[in-house]
């Protein structure tokens, strides 16, 4: 297997738009004893409690300004649910979105209730 090493990927046709690729991705199982179902550039998943997890990266990102998106499955009870990054630690002293890890919560969007779920899908572009 060969490895392609480039700094920038550009479209060959007119415009030459730059391609931005995912630097990490994961499918997480937040139920039972939790698990990283599959992923790339993920070294571990930490179960911090109900619906609260920390995903650590194999290779740290170059800066803290990476873009992160996550989805959770649709639930038949029609409650609105989402996966969020913790904006800051509860005591306000430390960041929980660092270049080496991101702390996240799966919860109902209209309440503070956290929940455990399978098929948490995460993509990070940096």
């Amino acid at each position: 297997m060969s490895t392609l090493k480039v700094n920038t990927l550009e479209e060959a046709t007119s415009g030459g738009a730059t391609y931005y690729t995912a630097k990490a991705w994961a499918v997480l199982d937040g139920t039972g004893s939790v698990n990283v179902t599959d992923g790339g550039n993920v070294s571990s998943l930490t179960d911090n409690g109900t619906g609260t997890y920390t995903m650590s990266y194999s290779t740290a990102f170059a800066s803290s300004t990476y873009s992160w998106v996550g989805t959770v499955p649709h639930f038949t009870d029609n409650t609105k649910r989402a996966v969020n990054i913790f904006a800051s630690a509860q005591d306000g002293t430390a960041s929980v979105k660092t270049t080496s890890a991101t702390k996240m919560r799966t919860g109902q969007t209209n309440s503070l209730n956290s929940f455990d779920t399978k098929n948490i899908c995460i993509t990070v572009v940096a």
Partner: protein, 130 residues
């Protein structure tokens, strides 16, 4: 798929429930294939970032490129056993205060998956048994 897990408590937040770290199989495979840099490469990055957090300039923090590139350019440390890889992961992904300071009781344990409860009804009340 590894059967190991790490359970730990945060000495700075004793009110928090016990945490359980699960390694990624892909990362573990890389570790056992000898693809990891020395752990000091990650510690150097973590120290720089912590300093930025402490000084309130983390929102737009960027690593020093020469230090960041060591993740790829530093000589690899060679193949690790599964147990050695778990010890490496403790030092990489668990806060240093958990494993580098001696407390009056252990703050972390490497355990088998079977020792972790699968019933999460009282998940936020889990404690590490001694």
């Amino acid at each position: 798929m590894t059967n190991y897990r790490v359970i730990y408590e945060d000495p700075d937040h004793p009110e928090q429930t016990a945490m359980v770290l699960v390694p990624s199989d892909n990362w573990l495979s890389d570790a056992m294939d000898g693809k990891l840099p020395p752990i000091s490469v990650y510690w150097e990055l973590q120290d720089d970032e912590q300093k930025a957090i402490d000084e309130g300039r983390h929102s737009t923090f960027k690593h020093d490129p020469s230090k960041w590139e060591k993740q790829f350019t530093a000589p690899r440390i060679g193949k690790l056993t599964e147990e050695e890889a778990m010890e490496y992961l403790v030092m990489k992904d668990i806060p240093r205060r958990v494993w580098s300071v001696e407390y009056n009781r252990p703050m972390f344990k490497i355990v088998k998956k079977e020792q972790i409860p699968t019933n999460r009804q009282f998940r936020n009340a889990w404690e590490m048994t001694q």
